[in-house]
C-alpha cells in the first residue's frame, strides 16, 4: 500500500516534469501570447509527487513495512527513530528520492521567484531545463533505482529481502526483521543533517545551469541571467559549504582516527563543484563590473553542473571500487548517458550561441582586480582539474592497461598545499587592487599596515608555542586578511563620516549593507584564512600515540595524565556497546571523564568506534578504542589536536560570509537601475 502510493508519487512527478519542460519552453517561446496559465500545474505536480514519494518512504521506514525491499535491507525494528528517518538517504535509491525532493523544491522556488516578475521568458526557459533534469531523476526512480520495489522473498528466518518485484502492487512477502542501516551510518546524529544539507547545495547547482542554458537558448547576453544565476549559485554554495563541513565533522566524530578529510572519491565529488562554483561567484563579479569573461562564465556554470553529475556517477555507480563492477549497477550507465547528453547538449548550444553572448572588451592590465580574479579562476579551475585527474587516473590506467595504480592523500596533499597558498595570496591582496589598472603605490598603501598585522599574528602564534613553518605562514595570512578587511572598512567609513558628518560606526554599518556581496566575501576570506591555519596545525602539530592498558593503569600523553578506571558493556536494542571509562587530568585538575566505545551492531560483524573527545580552546583530547577484551585489557589510540576548532570556525565563517551576502542583498533587493557597487565582489 505504502509502496504503491510512493511509486505513484514518483510517476506523477515524472509526468509533471515532462509537462513542465514542454510548458516552460513553450511559455519562453510564446512570450506575451502565452500567459503561463498552465505552468503552475506541472510545478505543483512535481512538488506534490516528490513530497508524496518522500513521505511514503519515511512512512515505510518508520512503520517497519518490510514488504518494501528498501526498508527490509536498510532498516530494522530496533533502529532508533532518528536513524530510521535518516535511513531514507542512507542507501542509493532513497538518496535519489531526497535528490528528487530537493530538486522539486528548487523548481518551486524558481517558479515563485518568477511569478513576482511578470513576463519572464528567461525564467520560463530555465523552468523548462529544470523540468528536463527532474524528468531524468524521476524516470531513474521509477525504473533502474526504484526505492518502492516490493519484496518477494526474504533471507532465511524472514530477515531482509533477497528478491524483489519492480511493480509495487505485485504480491509481496514481509519479513519479520530488517538488516538495519550500515553501522557507520547509524553511529552519529550528524547523519540526519549532513546529507540533506549537502544535497541542497549539490542539487541547487542545477538552477544556475538551467538559467545559463536558458540564456544561451534565448541568446540573451547582458547581465540579467548572470545576476539571477549568481544569486542561485550563492545559495547552493552556502549549503554545499555547510554540507562539506558537516561531513568533515561527522568523519572526525565517527571514523576514530581524528581525520576530517581524506580525499576520498565521495568527498572529492562534492569538492570539485564547490571549487568551480567559487570560481564563478568571483568571475561573475568581473562580468557585472567590467563586461568581460561572458563566455567563460557560461563554461564555468555548465562545467559545475557536469561535475555534480560526474561526481554522482563516480560515487553511485560502484565504478570507483573497480572498473569491472561497471555493468553490475544499472544506474551507472544511466548516469553516464545523462552526463554525455548534458555535455553534448550544453556545449553544442554554447558553440551555436557563443558569438551572440560573448564579450569583446579585453583586460587592460593584469595588475588589477580583474587580473587578480583571473588568477583566482585559473587556480580554482586548476585545483578542480587536479582533483578530477587524481580521482579518475586509477580508473583510466586500469581501463587502458589493466594495471592498478593508487592515487591518494599524499598526491592530493602535495598538489593542494602550493595551490592553496597561491589562492590565499590572491584572495588576500586581490580585493584591494582597484579595477582596470592599479598603481602599485595605491595597492602598497592599502596593504602596508595589514602586512605588519600579519607579522604580529605570526609572532603571537610563536609566543603561544607553535613553530611549524606552514602554521606560521597560515597565521601570517590570517592576520593579514583580517587586518586588510578591517582597514578597508575603517577607511571607507571614515571617508563617509567626514563627507556626511555622521558617526563612524553608523557609517561602517551602512558601508556593510551597501555592498553585502563584497563584505560577505571578505568574511568568507577571513574564514578561509582561519581554516588554512587549522588545517596546517592539524597536519603538522597533531600528536598521536597508542597504549595498551588494564583497569587501574594510567599513561601520560601530550601533557595529560590518562587513568583507566573501568571497562563496561551496555546491551541496547540495536547494538552492544563495549566501552571503557578514563579520567583525564592536566596537572592535578580533572579535565574530563571520557568514555570511548566500540559498537557492535546486530546486522554486522565489524565493530564501529565511537571516539570520545574533550574539546577546549587549546585543542581536542581525542580517545578511540582500538580493541577491547572481556578481561578489561584494551588498546587505546590517543590524539592531541591543537586548536582544531580553527578548522570548524574557519569553515563555518566561510559559509556565514555567503549567508551575509545573500541575506542583506535579499532585504535590500529593490531593483536598482545603476548598482551602487563600490567594490564589486
Amino acid at each position: 500500500m505504502i509502496a504503491t502510493v510512493g511509486f505513484l508519487g514518483v510517476v506523477v512527478a515524472a509526468v509533471s516534469s515532462a509537462a513542465l519542460a514542454v510548458r516552460g519552453f513553450h511559455a519562453s517561446a510564446a512570450g506575451e501570447r502565452d500567459t503561463s496559465r498552465w505552468l503552475p500545474y506541472p510545478v505543483l505536480g512535481v512538488v506534490v509527487g516528490a513530497v508524496v514519494a518522500m513521505i511514503s518512504l519515511e512512512a515505510g521506514l518508520l512503520a517497519d513495512d518490510f514488504s518494501i525491499a528498501y526498508v527490509a535491507n536498510n532498516s530494522a525494528t530496533t533502529t532508533p527513530f532518528l536513524y530510521k528517518a535518516a535511513s531514507a538517504w542512507a542507501a542509493l535509491e532513497g538518496s535519489l528520492v531526497l535528490w528528487g525532493l530537493v530538486l522539486a523544491l528548487f523548481v518551486l522556488s524558481v517558479w515563485v521567484g518568477r511569478a513576482r516578475r511578470g513576463e519572464d521568458r528567461l525564467g520560463a526557459a530555465a523552468l523548462g531545463f529544470l523540468g528536463l533534469v527532474s524528468l531524468f531523476v524521476f524516470v531513474i526512480l521509477a525504473t533502474v533505482s526504484n526505492p518502492f520495489e516490493v519484496c518477494t522473498a526474504t533471507y532465511q528466518g524472514g530477515i531482509g529481502c533477497a528478491q524483489t518485484a519492480a511493480l509495487p502492487w505485485s504480491a509481496s512477502v514481509a519479513g519479520v526483521e530488517g538488516f538495519g542501516p550500515n553501522p557507520l551510518l547509524q553511529n552519529h546524529p550528524l547523519m540526519a543533517l549532513h546529507p540533506p544539507t549537502l544535497y541542497v547545495g549539490y542539487v541547487g547547482l542545477t538552477v544556475p545551469f538551467a538559467f545559463a542554458m536558458a540564456a544561451l537558448l534565448r541568446a540573451e547576453s547582458g547581465d540579467g541571467w548572470l545576476r539571477r544565476t549568481r544569486s542561485w549559485t550563492r545559495i547552493a554554495w552556502i549549503f554545499l559549504t555547510l554540507g562539506i563541513v558537516l561531513g568533515g565533522l561527522w568523519s572526525y566524530e565517527v571514523l576514530g582516527w581524528g581525520g576530517y578529510w581524506a580525499w576520498d572519491p565521495v568527498e572529492n565529488a562534492s569538492f570539485m563543484p564547490w571549487l568551480l562554483a567559487t570560481a564563478f561567484l568571483h568571475s561573475a563579479a568581473v562580468q557585472l563590473r567590467r563586461g568581460v569573461l561572458q563566455s567563460w562564465n557560461f563554461v564555468l556554470v555548465i562545467a559545475t553542473f557536469a561535475l555534480t553529475i560526474l561526481g554522482t556517477f563516480l560515487t553511485r555507480s560502484g565504478v570507483i571500487v573497480s572498473v569491472h563492477s561497471f555493468t553490475q549497477s544499472a544506474i551507472g550507465p544511466a548516469l553516464l548517458w545523462f552526463l554525455m547528453i548534458v555535455l553534448v547538449g550544453s556545449l553544442g548550444l554554447f558553440a551555436m550561441r557563443a558569438h551572440l553572448v560573448s564579450s569583446s572588451p579585453r583586460i587592460d592590465s593584469l595588475f588589477s582586480r580583474e587580473g587578480a580574479i583571473l588568477v583566482n579562476n585559473l587556480l580554482l579551475a586548476l585545483f578542480a582539474f587536479v582533483v578530477i585527474l587524481g580521482t579518475l587516473y586509477p580508473l583510466i590506467v586500469e581501463a587502458v592497461s589493466g594495471d592498478t595504480v593508487g592515487v591518494g592523500r599524499p598526491f592530493f596533499d602535495r598538489v593542494a598545499v602550493p595551490l592553496s597558498f597561491a589562492l590565499i595570496l590572491a584572495m588576500a591582496v586581490g580585493p584591494f587592487v582597484p579595477y582596470r589598472a592599479a598603481r602599485p603605490g595605491v595597492v602598497w598603501r592599502r596593504i602596508r599596515h595589514p602586512l605588519r598585522a600579519g607579522l604580529v599574528a605570526a609572532v603571537a602564534v610563536v609566543l603561544l608555542g607553535r613553530r611549524n613553518g606552514w602554521v606560521l605562514l597560515a597565521a601570517f595570512f590570517a592576520g593579514f586578511v583580517v587586518a586588510l578587511a578591517l582597514r578597508q572598512l575603517w577607511v571607507t567609513a571614515r571617508a563617509a563620516a567626514a563627507k556626511a558628518g555622521g558617526n563612524i560606526v553608523v557609517e561602517a554599518g551602512r558601508a556593510l549593507r551597501r555592498d553585502p556581496a563584497y563584505w560577505g566575501g571578505q568574511l568568507s576570506h577571513i574564514g578561509v584564512a582561519l581554516l588554512a591555519m587549522g588545517i596546517a596545525l592539524s597536519a603538522n602539530s597533531a600528536v598521536r600515540g597508542t597504549v595498551e592498558m588494564t583497569p587501574g593503569g594510567s599513561a601520560s600523553f601530550a601533557g595529560h595524565e590518562v587513568a583507566y578506571t573501568a571497562p563496561f558493556i551496555r546491551e541496547l536494542p540495536n547494538k552492544t556497546v563495549f566501552g571503557a571509562t578514563f579520567e583525564v587530568r592536566r596537572g592535578s585538575d580533572l579535565v574530563a571523564v571520557l568514555e570511548p566505545r566500540l559498537n557492535q551492531y546486530a546486522s554486522s560483524r565489524q565493530t564501529v568506534a565511537s571516539p570520545a573527545v574533550d574539546s577546549g580552546w587549546r585543542g581536542d583530547f581525542y580517545l578511540a578504542l582500538a580493541s577491547w577484551d572481556e578481561d578489561g585489557a584494551i588498546a587505546l589510540d590517543l590524539y592531541w589536536f591543537p586548536w582544531i576548532w580553527l578548522v570548524w570556525a574557519g569553515a563555518f565563517t566561510t559559509a556565514i560570509g555567503g549567508f551575509f551576502a545573500w541575506l542583506i542583498r535579499r532585504r535590500t533587493a529593490a531593483p536598482r537601475p545603476a548598482p551602487q557597487e563600490v567594490f564589486g565582489v
Binding site: L366, L374, G406, Y435, A438, V442, T492, Q606, A609
Partner: protein, 140 residues
C-alpha cells in the same frame, strides 16, 4: 618625534617581527615526526576503499601497520619499507604515486594545464583594446 625617526622605528619593528617568525620557522616544531604514521599514510589498505593503513581501523590495516612499525624499529629506510610492500602487493598498493612510469602523466598534466592557463590569461591581455586607465583613488 620627527617623521624620519618614526618611519625608521616602524621599519625596525617590522624587521624584528619578521626575524622572530623566520627564526621560529628555522627552529621548527619539536613534535617527533612519527615515521610509522607517515609511511602508513602512503600505503593503501587493500580491503578498504581508498583509505590508507594509517586511517583504516580494519584488522588488515592494523596488521600491516605493525609490520611497518617493526621495520622502522629494525632500522630499515623508508625506501626499503615501501619496496617491501610494492614487491608483495604490486605498485597499486601505494597511495603516493611515483614520479615515473605509469603515474608520470599524473604529475605532468597539471603542470601542462597550468602553463596553458597562464598562456591563455597573457593572451587575454595582449589582444586588449587600448582604453585609458581610470584614475584610481583610495575609495575604489
Amino acid at each position: 618625534m620627527s617623521e624620519v625617526l618614526r618611519r625608521w622605528l616602524a621599519g625596525v619593528c617590522t624587521v624584528a617581527l619578521a626575524a622572530v617568525v623566520v627564526v621560529a620557522m628555522i627552529i621548527g616544531e619539536d613534535t617527533a615526526q612519527d615515521r610509522v604514521l607517515a609511511l602508513g599514510t602512503r600505503i593503501k589498505c587493500p580491503v578498504c576503499q581508498g583509505e590508507s593503513i594509517a586511517e583504516s581501523p580494519s584488522e588488515t590495516s592494523t596488521a600491516m601497520l605493525s609490520v611497518v612499525a617493526e621495520k622502522v624499529a629494525a632500522g630499515e629506510s623508508d625506501g626499503q619499507i615501501i619496496e617491501y610492500f610494492t614487491d608483495r602487493y604490486g605498485s597499486g598498493i601505494l597511495l603516493d604515486p611515483p614520479f615515473r612510469g605509469r603515474t608520470l602523466a599524473l604529475w605532468l598534466t597539471p603542470l601542462v594545464a597550468l602553463a596553458g592557463g597562464v598562456a591563455l590569461i597573457l593572451g587575454l591581455r595582449r589582444r586588449r583594446v587600448t582604453a585609458p586607465a581610470a584614475p584610481d583613488g583610495e575609495s575604489r
